[in-house]
């Protein structure tokens, strides 16, 4: 424990080990940089804010995840029967596929229920169903996302590092390139990281990914050869690709660009999104999530503004918002 952390007193339960404090910041304020007492005071302030935003309406995530999944499944027969036009089915499915990552993400951090809690099964179920439309099993999504938190912006160990790109256009193109079968992108980076981890969880994640993708391909082929090729293309294939690109761009590239720093207050940037808060899925305030991942997603914006002056004193560039 650092001196300032000890001086700040007991930390709230953050759900995972917070990295060591006191790393240099991108625009560090001199007082915070050099004075342990000042850093301890700022940490106390942060924790006071965090305590206000932990918990809350956690039920919204299972509700959206399970409701969204039921709606997504129902789109297939509705589109096959011609009740829902393909363009509308595609639009709705894309929203569910993209938004599903947010609900899954809450489950990855056990923000719906922790191990040992009564509703733990609901946390796991929320995670499991949320990422089926993007063909990314929850076991793989969770292990990779937690590695991202532990090693954020480390070129070798951060699973999201292949999303780095010099500009927004490059980033968008790269989201697609990284999904090519033998491109040296995300898939190969994941494989290498999983081989390094080599645990029962990492082996299970690989097995789940193979099974889900194989099962989906069998479903795709069966549907396509039964006369519903455009249905499965519009309801699953296209929304998956749009969703993955959107997720990679807004949830990975935008909040971490330019990925050249690894410190606690450096690895994420505050930015203003042209698409606003909802369409950028709250990523403008991603720094608060990286500092305190157990603040629920829907409370990050309020927590950011409550914490803004403290972050500024820590040296974070808060000028965009």
């Amino acid at each position: 424990m650092t001196i300032e952390a000890a001086a700040a007193g007991p930390a709230p339960d953050l759900g995972f080990a917070a990295p060591a404090l006191g790393a240099p910041a991108r625009h560090r304020a001199p007082a915070a940089a050099d004075d342990p007492e000042e850093r301890a005071r700022l940490l106390r302030q942060e924790r006071e804010v965090v305590a206000k935003y932990l918990g809350g309406a956690r039920w919204i995530y299972p509700t959206f995840a399970l409701g969204g999944f039921a709606l997504w499944v129902s789109l297939f027969p509705l589109a096959m029967a011609g009740i829902v036009p393909l363009w509308l089915g595609c639009l709705v499915s894309t929203v569910i596929a993209t938004g599903g990552y947010v609900t899954s993400h809450e489950a990855m951090h056990s923000n719906i229920a922790r191990k040992g809690e009564k509703l733990r099964w609901l946390n796991e179920l929320t995670g499991q169903v949320s990422t089926i439309p993007i063909l990314f099993p929850f076991s793989m999504a969770r292990i990779m996302h937690l590695q991202h938190h532990y090693h954020c912006n480390d070129p070798q160990r951060d699973p999201d590092f292949p999303d780095s790109a010099p500009s927004a256009w490059h980033a968008l193109i790269k989201t697609w390139l990284n999904r090519q079968p033998r491109y040296a992108g995300s898939i190969h980076h994941y494989k290498r990281i999983l081989a390094d981890i080599d645990s029962p969880a990492s082996r299970r994640a690989q097995r789940d990914t193979a099974m889900l993708q194989l099962g989906a391909m069998i479903f795709f082929f069966a549907m396509a050869w039964s006369g519903y090729a455009l249905v499965v293309a519009a309801i699953w294939w296209l929304p998956r690709h749009i969703g993955l690109s959107y997720i990679r761009f807004y949830l990975s590239w935008a909040p971490h660009h330019p990925r050249d720093q690894q410190g606690r207050y450096l690895n994420t940037r505050v930015f203003k999104s042209k698409l606003g808060h909802v369409l950028s899925m709250g990523m403008q305030y991603h720094i608060v999530h990286h500092l305190y991942p157990n603040i629920p997603h829907h409370r990050l914006k309020a927590a950011y503004y409550d914490m803004r002056s403290t972050l500024a004193a820590r040296g974070v560039d808060v000028s965009p918002l």
């Binding site: 390139l177 090519q180 079968p181 033998r182 491109y183 193979a210 993708q213 194989l214 391909m217 795709f220 082929f221 396509a224 050869w225 006369g227 090729a229 455009l230 499965v232 293309a233 294939w237």
Partner: protein, 76 residues
């Protein structure tokens, strides 16, 4: 406890899966892209030369594209 026979069959299963995923772009070309192209031709009402069936065109294009993606490791 896993004995050597079980480990061997797990390894065989992994090898089989690796093989399937290696040729997956080709399978995808035949299994998915071909019928998608056929349905698009039908929906667009495109008249094909020499009485070609939409599915024949779909299979020709889908298998060629899938084979290209399998060999090159990229759909482009």
């Amino acid at each position: 406890m896993i004995h050597s026979g079980q480990r061997g069959s797990v390894r065989h299963m992994q090898q089989a899966l690796k093989g399937i995923f290696f040729i997956m772009p080709f399978l995808f070309g035949i299994g998915f892209i071909a019928p998608v192209i056929a349905e698009l031709i039908a929906v667009a009402g495109i008249e094909l030369p020499a009485n070609l069936a939409p599915l024949t065109v779909g299979l020709l294009l889908g298998s060629a594209w899938g084979l290209y993606a399998t060999i090159k490791g990229s759909w482009l």
